[in-house]
Symmetry: C2
């Protein structure tokens, strides 16, 4: 257990989203003497960026409710202050206020939590009016403005990853005709195609035109917008959303002489320290230790940002806490389905030198005799050399405990369990909610049978 | 991974419920040469006894659907054959067929999986017509017969444990007026009273008269039945259900000279072997190794029966597999709520020599800004001496992933994690299904704060 400290440390945090605020809160909790300043480029401290699709769908009509919290007692927030330079020798940060000139902040400990910026494809027309990315509150307000002021009837979404499929769902909620473009052969390419196709079917079932194997090549403005893509794609639309992923916002750190790691993310160690003393980095601007791959990767996720921020905050006030690593756990809801994964998929495991087998079962989420049973598709990836669990994927009804079932796999991965030993876990059972062997364990048993008789 | 064997072993199993059938299936899977005979006292192999309340509620109208499976290829089932004697020296079992005299079965390996029998309170009137216990299919048919033939308008349930509260729910489903009697100060006394009271409130909200601190003292038959209890309880009713727990059905083993353990359950080792060579025991008739208490206990649960049976089956055909132990994970659905626990509660931890602190939080099951968020009450018990997780309890809406959240705690307990280290688990997040810190982790953080500032 961490203990309280009294070091009178001056802790400056650049960025007020998941990682930055998590660090501030943790430092505040552990050290009553610290002075904690968070400088953020916008005016939305600790807003849930993952919630933007639900604001835009109308399910969360009031954007203020997207704030994870609104109380920041004992933390000084500098809203609309963009950090423009770090001087590690002088231990200062220059921040530019939107309407108030520049300010010099001196620090004892500094956290860079600048997050990520959208990846914008290098194609013509990305700056046309009506073409939007979606990463900040201001992005969301721009899309919201267009939805309300222009009442678009159709939208094309470029990118069929998590944000793309969530926004497809959101815009159908708003009665738009939606076309979703994905580069890969199936949507949600972070899942195996067998499962990604289930999500594709779910999108189509709700009237979305899903185009896979299509990469946008350009956008033109005529009466409306016209989007062109590979495989002969050409379609007019009122609104274009670009959801093509993100890259780390690491320029500020780079200019300060801090070392970069994977994919231009800030290099960190397990305590979230950068290459320069007393400067930490956390969240979407930083590398993430992958617990399975035993290497650093770039894996920007809100959950990881919270963890890394909390650890940086603890260490900044004299604590000793290490980031245990990500296993890449993710879940998304798309209409009535939830799709989740954790760990490595087959090709990722092969690339990392494992000898994987992936096997899929279909199982009821609870005893079929109790009303409302739903089918889950559960894929288990394990190592044929030593029987170790490598990863899992589940797709099923979003009320069928898909998310917390993937978490059982995630917990097992965290502890390096073998697939067979999943059967040892004492999981809960009552007929309306599971089976005596949870689907997680049924999938493990099926994998072991397959593995023992190739 | 277990490998196939060819030993031509003659494997006899006494009992065809969870443990017996799990053993048979596992032995069949691993050893194609084995001859496998399951003798069961009734005609309902591998029926889901946990499903009886749903058959009686009408939610599962066809009792046949309670069968976990109906295919038993390669397994010889002797239905309606009750085992009456074991001769370990001769390696034989005498079974008495309902209509076909006695039969002698010889075995190389024997599994005793005779299950449990209801605990019947030693009070007058337990044998009166209209007074039922509920443990077997035949018990269920008897209750069902009375519900259909006599159309009772009211019922008193003696015992407010899992079966008691499930049957209260079931009989309300049938429009009976239900009174539930519990000996303890709160219903579902396997939970802390703070949470048990939530279940009590839920029962009352659905019109059930809940009487705690009442122990039945006798039943008389007048025009209808009249139940008497402590604290002045006296009430007439049409139907009495006794759900006062179970005891191991271990008489057969005792007569064969097999050693008994906790609470007259059959003593077993981690491979499910009894004190006599080549005789195994598994399921509700046997002891259970408690992984937290590091001792044997009597903890009859369907999940454990499946595990123990599977292990006994593997070992009976020459395998080497050990039961990893139970952490006491349980969940029950009561109307709109699910109540779950795993590990030790405060008083159990104290009795076992730990130095526990229990702390409770209320957390949303998912981001409050997304529609339909429900409150979860999460109690964490940890050890103040070393920060280790000792147990957890959750009550919340049954669609709020209570069951699989308790399983995250169960997986953490299995691996001996500290409460603080729960924050390292890479759990899934999307706003409709969780928070960046899952409620499991929010509860862990709150516990740590409390523990560090007693």
């Amino acid at each position: 257990m961490a203990e309280s400290r009294e070091n009178n440390v001056k802790f400056v945090i650049i960025g007020g989203s998941d990682a930055g605020i998590s660090a501030a809160l943790r430092a505040r909790e552990l050290d009553k003497s610290a002075s904690i300043i968070v400088a953020l480029a916008d005016g939305y401290p600790n807003f849930s960026i993952c919630g933007l699709p639900f604001f835009l769908s109308g399910e969360t009509p009031d954007w203020h409710r997207l704030a994870h919290r609104t109380e920041f007692e004992g933390i000084e927030l500098l809203l609309w202050h963009e950090a423009v330079a770090i001087d590690p020798a002088a231990r200062t940060v220059v921040v530019a206020a939107r309407d108030d000139g520049r300010k010099l902040l001196s620090y004892d400990q500094l956290l860079i939590a600048t997050g990520a910026v959208p990846l914008i494809p290098h194609i013509p027309g990305m700056n046309l009016p009506g073409v939007h990315s979606l990463h900040t509150m201001d992005d969301a307000f721009a899309v919201y403005g267009q939805l309300h002021d222009r009442a678009p009837r159709s939208a094309i979404i470029v990118g069929a990853g998590y944000i793309g499929v969530e926004m497809a769902d959101a815009l159908v909620h708003r009665n738009l005709e939606v076309t979703l473009l994905g580069k890969a052969t199936s949507v949600l390419a972070t899942l195996d195609p067998e499962l990604g196709n289930l999500i594709g079917d779910e999108l189509r079932r709700h009237g979305i035109v899903v185009k896979t194997d299509v990469e946008a090549t350009g956008i033109e403005s005529m009466d409306c917008l016209r989007v062109f893509g590979t495989n002969g794609f050409a379609q007019s639309t009122d609104l274009v959303l670009v959801a093509a992923g993100v890259r780390p916002a690491s320029d500020l750190a780079l200019k300060a002489g801090i070392s970069m790691g994977q994919k231009a993310a800030i290099r960190v160690d397990s305590s979230m320290r950068t290459s320069i003393p007393d400067i930490y980095a956390a969240g979407d601007c930083a590398e993430t230790w992958h617990r399975m791959l035993k290497t650093y990767s770039y894996l920007p996720l809100g959950t990881t940002s919270h963890k890394q921020g909390r650890i940086a905050g603890e260490n900044a006030v004299g604590g000793v806490r290490h980031f245990a690593g990500s296993v890449g756990t993710q879940v998304v809801k798309v209409f009535d389905l939830a799709a989740a994964r954790t760990g490595l998929r087959d090709h990722e495991a092969i690339a990392a030198g494992f000898n994987p087998l992936t096997f899929e079962i279909t199982a009821w989420d609870h005893k079929e005799y109790y009303p409302g049973a739903r089918e889950l598709r559960v894929r288990v990836t394990g190592d044929l050399d030593n029987g170790k669990l490598l990863g899992a994927q589940i797709v099923g009804h979003w009320r069928a405990e898909v998310a917390k079932r993937i978490d059982i796999f995630a917990a097992a991965l965290f502890h390096g369990m073998s697939v067979e030993d999943l059967n040892d876990l004492d999981l809960s059972y009552t007929p309306p909610l599971s089976s005596p062997w949870d689907p997680v364990q049924l999938a493990a048993q099926a994998w072991c049978r397959k593995a023992s008789r190739p």
